[in-house]
């Protein structure tokens, strides 16, 4: 089964980010926006048409295109064990 990514999150659903499979430059930018491995991410609304998606991450809301979200791989296990705010 292929790993679940941020783009698979339904609205209101939450996941823990495992790793960023994107180019280094892109990963840097995304991490600055809060997408760090181990952090909880929840999907908010999407723009009309479902793209871009809006994610709640580290206290803010960030819009990403679906294509970008596909590079952000979620952990298999649920969010259990990860504390809020802990990275």
């Amino acid at each position: 089964m292929p790993a679940r990514t941020l783009s698979d999150l339904r609205r209101g659903e939450e996941g823990v980010l495992n790793r960023l499979e994107v180019a280094d430059e892109v990963a840097q930018r995304l991490m600055e926006l809060g997408f760090l491995p181990g952090v909880r991410v929840s999907a908010g609304r999407s723009a009309p048409g479902g793209d871009p998606m809006i994610f709640r991450v580290d206290g803010s809301e960030v819009a990403l295109r679906r294509a970008t979200a596909r590079g952000l791989i979620l952990s298999d296990s649920g969010p259990a064990g990860v504390e809020e705010g802990h990275v």
Partner: protein, 636 residues
């Protein structure tokens, strides 16, 4: 180099002032959306100077603050950054300024580090590399009213102990904490014993460091902004969202006609009355002619449009400051993606509706160079406010006002929307063309956009925008437009025969107009419009002043009366409806704005793209105008 820059360089701190804690240049640093610019505006008010850093597209904002003892210090507002890794141009500039490596700017001797206290954990990540610079820093916990209001908490004193720098809880929007900030700028309070900061290279460890510091300071993140959620559930609703987006756009355009109209009428009356008053005061002379037919008719006919232009700036400002513009960018992203642009290009493109120059400057928020170039190249197709006077004049002259959708939409507003659409479609087509030719390679950085919570726009910020834009417009009316109209008046008044001014068609200006007539004749333009097209190369709206001057002189010739015939009425005698369509299309497409050409040259780092853009738009304008006229003549 501006004088201001020189002045700040002249005030470069000496070793003595550094040790005594008297600052002269203080940098304002912070992440995007942290309220940094609001604070900067609060502190400096109108005493600002905006320019570009040499060789890059990043705006350099300097402002002056009077501190204790009547001294003045300079504040430099750095671009919003997430880190000092110097990957983007913004970060390179910020780093360059902070290290004192920017030409013409001394190294700042203190820093105001502004963080959004409603998201302290992430915002404080930036503190690690900033504090490591070893420059005296005041940490400004901005939006602390918002933090408290949403049940959050932070102990500033303990945070200050953690970080080894003074901390102030502030709200730039409400004006809280400004006294403490001014106190710091005046030289106190003395920095605490500097703590040893670990060198944190990667983002993860910086973020952990920040979380530890806030954790030790009893930071409690605020509850989610309930209002933002509620508003977003409507404004980003799959159906209501795009509908509201369209409604907002229509409302903006409709209101700049209906609501701005009384103000414009008032301005027009004022200009006409003052012209008559001055005419009655002065004896009959060439000077009186120049003043009335040249300056009043020329500059006055452009000044009338100031209310409309300001209206547009206020509306765009309201959308930006409230946070709606970011939502609009998200809604627009999918559509923008179809033409190969991204949602962030929407913001510069929307500002280009006010003026292409700030729009082209604001493309720096787009991280990918290719997307940025594409946005710069298409921005001048957006209907800037300088086109408004031309459109408004021609439409009012040729199109009677009739309601189309009840009181909501009239024929004139509809025609205007049509012209806006035309510019937009040309932009889209050009973007596609660029993406398949010049800018073929895909960009590495994807679209990312942080959505700030909705906030009430502050009167001060809107007022500042208004003052700023009025000054720019008046400066242009007072310089470029004045110069062009005066030169034109002279050209139209020589050669004199027997001490009498020539008939305008026999004048030098008339001869120039006649010389270009064969080229523009296929578009339905005569020599008078030709003169307007030439003078409007300086700036689009100049054509209105030019026609005002020409008809002003002509009116004097015909009636011997000061009151020139209405510009609109005069225009209907010189243009057929087909020619009017051609004129509108010509102005929709042509890049008649030397300031834009200059900015594009600077932003793209050379003449190549600027010249290419000018030629491309001129070709399109000529062809489009000819097609428009031909079709209109078949149709009408």
């Amino acid at each position: 180099m501006s004088d201001f820059q020189g002045a700040s360089a002249a005030q470069a701190p000496t070793a003595a002032s550094r040790t005594s804690g008297l600052y002269s240049l203080v940098a304002v640093v912070g992440a995007p959306n942290c309220g940094k610019s609001t604070l900067f505006n609060r502190l400096t008010g109108l005493r600002q100077k905006v320019a570009n850093y040499p060789g890059v597209t990043v705006e350099k904002r300097l402002g002056r603050v009077r501190v204790e003892g009547g001294r003045e210090i300079t504040l430099v507002d750095l671009p919003g950054i997430y880190s000092l890794t110097a990957r983007s141009e913004d970060e390179r500039v910020a780093k360059g300024v902070l290290l004192g490596e920017m030409a013409g700017l001394a190294r700042p001797d203190a820093i105001l580090l502004v963080v959004d206290s409603t998201n302290l954990n992430r915002n404080l990540s930036l503190a690690a590399p900033i504090l490591a610079l070893g420059i005296p820093t005041l940490l400004v916990l901005n939006m602390s009213d918002d933090l408290r209001g949403r049940g959050g908490l932070v102990d500033g004193e303990r945070l200050s102990e953690q970080l080894g720098v003074p901390v102030v809880q502030a709200s730039a929007a409400k004006g809280e904490g400004l006294e403490a900030i001014r106190g710091f700028l005046s030289g106190g309070p003395a920095a605490r014993q500097r703590l040893e900061l670990p060198v944190l290279q990667d983002i993860g460890s910086r973020r952990r460091w920040a979380a530890r510091a806030t954790g030790q300071s009893g930071y409690q993140a605020p509850a989610a902004a309930a209002w933002t959620r509620r508003l977003d559930s409507v404004l980003l609703h799959p159906l209501a969202g795009p509908l509201i987006f369209l409604l907002v756009m229509v409302a903006v355009f409709q209101s700049i006609f209906t609501l701005a109209q009384p103000l414009m009428d008032g301005t027009e009356t004022l200009i006409a009355a003052s012209g008559l008053w001055i005419g009655a005061l002065l004896p009959d002379s060439w000077f009186r002619d120049l003043l009335l037919q040249g300056v009043w008719a020329g500059v006055g006919s452009v000044l009338v449009f100031l209310p409309q232009i300001l209206f547009l700036f206020v509306l765009i400002g309201l959308m930006e400051d409230s946070g709606y513009l970011a939502r609009a960018a998200v809604i627009a992203d999918r559509t923008m993606a179809r033409v190969g642009l991204e949602g962030k290009a929407f913001i510069p493109l929307l500002s280009a509706y006010a003026c292409a120059i700030p729009a082209i400057m604001s493309t720096r928020t787009i991280e990918s160079r290719r997307e940025r170039l594409a946005t710069i190249l298409i921005a001048p197709f957006m209907t800037c406010s300088a086109r408004l006077p031309v459109y408004a004049l021609v439409i009012a002259a040729f199109l009677p006002e009739k309601p189309l959708l009840g009181p909501l939409l009239g024929t004139r507003a509809a025609a205007m929307i049509g012209l806006y659409l035309l510019g937009f479609l040309a932009a889209v087509a050009t973007a596609r063309l660029l993406k398949s030719t010049l800018l073929k390679r895909k960009s590495p950085l994807p679209f990312t956009l942080e959505l700030p919570p909705y906030r009430w726009p502050t009167l001060q910020s809107i007022g500042l925008r208004l003052a700023d834009r009025s000054l720019i417009f008046l400066k242009r009316a007072g310089t470029v437009i004045l110069l062009v109209t005066v030169v034109l008046w002279f050209l139209a008044s020589v050669p004199r025969t027997d001490g009498e001014p020539p008939e305008i068609s026999q004048s030098l200006a008339g001869r120039i107009g006649h010389a270009v007539e064969p080229v523009i004749e296929p578009l339905g333009f005569n020599w008078k419009i030709g003169i307007g097209l030439i003078t409007s190369l300086a700036a689009r709206e100049v054509i209105v002043g030019t026609l005002g001057t020409i008809y002003g002189i002509e009116g004097a010739e015909e009636g011997g009366d000061e009151g020139s015939p209405g510009l609109r009425q005069a225009l209907t005698q010189d243009l057929t409806p087909g020619g009017a369509v051609a004129l509108l299309i010509f102005f929709a497409f042509a890049l008649q704005c030397m300031s834009t050409v200059a900015v594009v040259r600077r932003e793209t780092g050379g003449w190549r793209l600027a010249v290419l853009q000018f030629g491309y738009m001129l070709t399109l304008a000529y062809t489009g105008a000819w097609l428009g006229k031909t079709l209109a003549e078949i149709w009408i």
